[in-house]
Amino acid sequence: MVNPEIQGRVYPPTAPYLVGREKVREFARAVLSTSPLHLDPEAARAAGYADVVAPPTFAVVVQEATLAQLLADEAAGVDFSRVVHGDQRFTYTRPIVAGDELTATLTIAAVKQLGGHSMVTASSEIVDADGAHVVTAISTLVVRAAEEEQA
């Protein structure tokens, strides 16, 4: 069972993540995108962006470092082999573009118990090098009960 006392916990900001143009292209191709905004810097510039624009789910790459903090926190008691992704949300102030240096801060928004399972809502606030908000990524992780916990 996940420790309910981690609700409200705020973890230290992650190391800055530099968004590379080729990483954006690689991610865009991996999600089967053909939009030139994700692939072609000239098309992105023509649309008013400094460089290629990351697809809307790209923030998961930066968020991952915050979820690693949660999994590494022994006091939290999250067993990764029992984790199922329940839901995901990204709320953007502006799109991520290549060249951004992003830092993420994880807050445990909620821990709920449901029939032996734990539902952890993890909110990662991602800011740029100036500290300006770019996107908040919110995941609900469902941690399935171990067999001995299922009554």
């Binding site: 939009s35 809307p56 991952e64 329940g86 839901d87 953007y92």
Partner: protein, 141 residues
């Protein structure tokens, strides 16, 4: 495909529709691009050992690819300000045939003052919806 025009959108209109093919090769590419190397997305033996029917697509692969259907349609006409989804049903990806996922994007709501539109995605595999409440909010220029 022509560039979408905000004033011409209407609630209930289907703006984009696409069949996506998830293959093992594509899951491996997504694992590399995203950094999610959970072996249930590329190893049958591991998937079976934890009680799954076989290798499953990452929920985030399906969410990301479904989002591409909208961003390919949107082009430079606007930007995504919010994207959410629930992962309601797994997508097993057959080693030979892969998995065909159908995505339909419909205009769910329009805010003429803010120049935003909500797009509702219906994402179906094998006759069943696999993403719940999959919605993108798009701000037009």
């Amino acid at each position: 495909m022509s560039t979408p025009v905000f004033a011409e959108l209407s609630v209930g209109e289907v703006v984009a529709e696409r069949e996506l093919l998830a293959t093992r090769d594509r899951l491996v590419r997504y694992a590399g691009a995203s950094g999610d190397f959970n072996p249930i997305h590329y190893r049958d033996d591991v998937a079976l050992s934890v009680g799954l029917p076989g290798v499953l697509a990452h929920g985030m692969f399906t969410m990301g690819a479904a989002g591409s259907v909208v961003t390919d349609w949107l082009g430079a006409a606007g930007r995504v300000v919010d994207y959410q989804s629930r992962f309601t049903r797994p997508v097993p990806v057959d080693a030979d045939a892969g998995a065909v996922i159908t995505v339909t994007a419909t205009v769910g709501a329009i805010d003429a003052t803010l120049r935003t539109a909500r797009l509702d995605l219906k994402v179906v595999f094998d006759g069943a919806t696999v993403l719940g409440k999959a919605q993108l909010a798009v701000a037009f220029e």
